[in-house]
């Protein structure tokens, strides 16, 4: 485990990555997995837009179109956006709080594999030719009768992936609660850590309803349940409630880490501390809490009655307030600062108007009477893409550039980065701005084609061209990443030069134990504080160098998840094939035995000696980089 070069074969490297419990490596795995599914979801989007390029197009069939919109939404939200955000949280939060790893490294790995295999399970539906086609919301009227196994892939795949998310959420919560460096009170944590904390609390409370809903769907489809079958006393509205009680907090789970990333970027590249830190924290907490109170604004047209609609409309309006507070605080952070327009800062600047546009259309939809007109139209599609792409995706692209050196030890090319931004940003607005008008002009969403001469043709064409531009931007980014990896020009601790938080006080990438000594934190933006006080390294140790306790890796998380993956197939084919039930039971047995093996075997980790730590630090210092 020392820094002495080890002769590693390819097999050994694969084993290392499959058994790692190191938060930095797991962060990279999440990023790679998420990026893969992002590309998949993007291809699905391009197919959707190509089908809608012209009226009465026959690029894909109606059934295939339903498959595409369902998989695009499900993949982008569950398998691209969330995992990439988890990648950043994993890689960066322990560094920002001065910890050596997360609270439960084994569960960290388990969470990753659950996501990966759950996502693969879901996408295997393409290979089987039976793809979920009831939308990412899978309402349990259509999803009960959808023929073939498509919805089964959806229910089981998301169940597995969702369990992984819940584990990751608990992990981050405990890490932040228990493992902060001495001196780091809650109100001295960086904003990215705060938003991770609140988003993780939201995950803890929002994912159990999804678990329950998916179980109900699974039972109804595969085990004879009657939850949603009105002929047997069931009720389809129950699905809607349960789904949106999860679904609405889910979108805040997506946006809060994005807000956190931008808070870091604004203060770093305006060279000024974040304006109104306490109000930012409070606004984040408020958004997290209110996020659970508004779910029925997705159900205004269901017929819940005017009282219910009114309550949820008011609550929806209320959420705009803390969000507005954050926008003003970001602007005021820049005001009077010394702004450096790097690629991450460019994304941040683009985020402000884009997200505000998405936010205000959201407030419009929060008015129940207007929503009666807008519901299920392209206006809704425009709104949520503005907030998700204009918020979350821009944050992901920004965070990729910003933290790339910390994770990989190289820098992405700035020029290529800015070109990506231009193609992506222009394409994004081209695609989705015009969709607001399409909504007003009456074009419904989730339609596989439309008749000509309704005034929609040009708008759809513009929308499609925008999508192509976004695709070009992404291709340039992938190229950028590959070139940076090949060129392998190593960088030091703080390549951006203006780092304010603890992750910039250690090498890029950090040695496997992160910090040679636990840091002592004397205030907010502690690295900036130390630099201003004359300590150039930005790092103040809290203790002498000691032996460091590190966890062992394990293949058990992969095996546990594999068991569930196998069981999923058993559950799905149980009613048609005799091998269904044995495979279901067999898969669960594999998982159970892996869990027992984990519990029964004593895994207390190992110690890195003080001498090794000092030696590693000396070598890094001599080289100038890790």
């Amino acid at each position: 485990m020392s820094s002495v070069a080890q002769k590693k074969g390819f097999g050994a490297a694969v084993w290392d990555w499959m058994t790692t419990v190191d938060h930095k490596k797991i962060g990279i795995l999440y990023l790679l997995g998420g990026a893969f599914f992002f590309v998949l979801g993007g291809i699905e989007a391009l197919f959707i837009r190509w089908q809608l390029l012209t009226p009465q197009n026959d690029f894909v069939t109606a059934g295939m179109f339903n498959d595409l919109i369902t998989m695009h939404g499900t993949t982008m939200i569950f398998l691209a956006a969330m995992p990439i955000l988890f990648g950043f949280m994993n890689a960066i939060v322990p560094l920002q709080i001065g910890a050596r790893d997360v609270a439960f490294p084994f569960i960290n790995s388990l969470g990753f594999w659950m996501f990966m295999l759950g996502g693969i399970f879901l996408n295997l539906s393409w290979l089987f030719g039976e793809v979920p086609d009831a939308g990412w919301t899978s309402y349990a009227s259509l999803s009960l009768v959808s023929p073939g196994h498509g919805i089964d892939f959806y229910a089981l795949g998301l169940q597995i992936a969702g369990a992984g998310t819940l584990m990751a959420g608990i992990n981050f919560l405990v890490t932040i609660i228990n493992m902060r460096a001495p001196g780091m009170t809650y109100m001295r944590m960086p904003l990215f850590t705060w938003t991770t904390f609140i988003a993780s609390a939201m995950i803890l409370f929002a994912f159990p309803p999804l678990t329950v809903g998916l179980f109900f769907l699974t039972f109804d489809r595969m085990f004879g349940g009657q939850f949603f079958n009105h002929l047997m006393g069931g009720n389809t509205i129950i699905w809607e409630h349960i789904f949106w009680i999860f679904g609405h907090p889910e979108v805040y789970i997506l946006i809060l880490p994005a807000f956190g990333i931008f808070s870091e970027i604004f203060s770093t590249f305006a060279r000024k501390r974040l304006f109104g830190y306490p109000s930012m924290v409070f606004a984040t907490v408020l958004i997290g809490f209110l996020g659970f109170m508004v779910w029925a604004h997705h159900m205004f047209t269901v017929g819940l009655g005017p009282t219910a609609n009114a309550i949820f409309a008011v609550a929806t309006m209320a959420i705009a307030v803390p969000t507005g507070v954050k926008i003003f605080n970001w602007l005021l952070t820049m005001w009077g600062g010394s702004i450096k327009v790097t690629t991450p800062m460019l994304y941040a600047l683009g985020f402000i108007p884009s997200f505000v546009m998405g936010g205000v259309t959201g407030v419009m939809q929060g008015s129940a009477p207007l929503d009666y007109q807008l519901h299920d139209s392209y206006f809704i599609v425009a709104h949520f893409h503005y907030v998700i792409v204009g918020g979350v995706v821009l944050a992901i692209l920004a965070g990729t550039h910003y933290w790339w050196p910390k994770m990989f030890g190289t820098m992405l090319n700035e020029t290529l980065g800015k070109i990506t931004f231009v193609f992506f940003f222009i394409g994004f607005h081209m695609t989705f701005l015009i969709q607001h008008w399409l909504g007003f002009w009456g074009m419904p969403r989730r339609v596989w084609t439309y008749m000509p001469n309704q005034g929609w043709d040009l708008a759809n064409m513009i929308s499609t061209i925008g999508a192509i531009s976004m695709g070009i931007g992404v291709i340039i980014l992938v190229f950028n990443a590959i070139m940076a990896t090949i060129k392998n020009e190593r960088v030091g601790n703080d390549p951006w030069g203006d780092g304010r938080t603890l992750e910039w006080a250690i090498p890029s990438p950090p040695p496997f134990y992160n910090f040679p000594q636990t840091p002592l934190v004397r205030g907010l933006d502690s690295v900036w504080l130390e630099k201003m006080d004359g300590n150039e390294s930005g790092f103040l140790p809290a203790e002498p160098v000691k032996d460091i306790h590190m966890p062992y890796g394990s293949i058990l998380p992969f095996i546990m998840t594999l068991g569930l993956f196998i069981a999923g197939f058993g559950a799905m084919f149980r009613l048609e094939h005799a091998w269904g039930l044995p495979v279901l039971v067999g898969g669960l047995v594999v998982t159970f035995f892996a869990m027992a093996a984990r519990s029964v075997r004593d895994d207390l980790g190992f110690y890195v000696t003080k001498e090794e730590v000092l030696q590693t630090e000396k070598e890094i210092a001599q080289r100038g980089h890790n």
Binding site: V174, I177, F215, F219, G224, G225, G233, G234, N235, D602
Partner: protein, 209 residues
């Protein structure tokens, strides 16, 4: 310090052994958080049950008033509540560094839990005999999912404590397994909390109508 092999005495055993190391603190907080999530899980199951109780196909005759037998439910409640107390005893002995007594009281907890499960299985079999099966109505699906999920949690708990008792039998108490016994007892109490809601909302409210 060697968490597995360090020899403690009753005088050196920490006052809160379940939170004495960083790993233990993490497991302590992490488990409480997990219970917070389970609260919402069961809340959703309860909510669905409340929405769907007494709903079935036309002409369906099972109602909450006709179906539930309060005597059986009282027996189950007393078994589970007592098992909760016995696990408190076990943790008391754990804090007193009395390994043998802790193992004994945990075993009694497991026995009482098994008793609970047996009565519940008997109750379910009785319902199935009446035609009240999982797929017979939305009410049945909701009932069996809610009460069955609780029963599944009890079963998992029994497997857990059995494994703990067996695995640590030769080892005695140390700071590695102290927190494992403690988190089990938290889980076991939580199951009792859920049962309080079940007997109230499902059975008692069901009989009142």
């Amino acid at each position: 310090m060697d968490v597995l092999n360090h020899k403690f005495t009753p005088e050196t055993w920490p006052e809160h052994p379940e939170r004495a190391t960083l790993e233990a603190k993490n497991k302590f907080v992490g488990f409480w958080l997990f219970l917070g999530g389970e609260t919402i899980l069961f809340a959703t199951l309860f909510a669905t049950y409340l929405a769907l109780r007494n709903s079935g196909p036309d002409g369906f005759e099972h109602t909450t008033q006709s179906l539930y037998d309060l005597k059986l439910v009282l027996v189950m409640t007393l078994l589970l509540l007592t098992s909760s107390l016995t696990s408190v005893y076990a943790v008391y002995h754990m804090r007193n560094f009395n390994f043998k007594k802790m193992q004994i009281w945990m075993s009694i907890t497991a026995l009482l839990g098994t008793g609970f499960l047996m009565v519940e299985v008997y109750e379910f079999v009785h319902y199935v005999g009446l035609g009240f099966t999982f797929g017979s109505s939305a009410f049945a699906s909701a009932f069996f999912t809610l009460v069955g999920t609780h029963g599944l949690h009890v079963a998992v708990g029994l497997v857990w404590i059995t494994l703990l008792i067996w695995r640590n039998a030769k080892r005695g108490l140390n700071l590695y397994n102290a927190t494992k016994y403690y988190t089990f007892s938290l889980y076991w109490h939580f199951i009792d909390v859920v049962w309080v809601f079940i007997f109230t909302v499902v059975y008692l409210m069901g009989v009142i109508g």
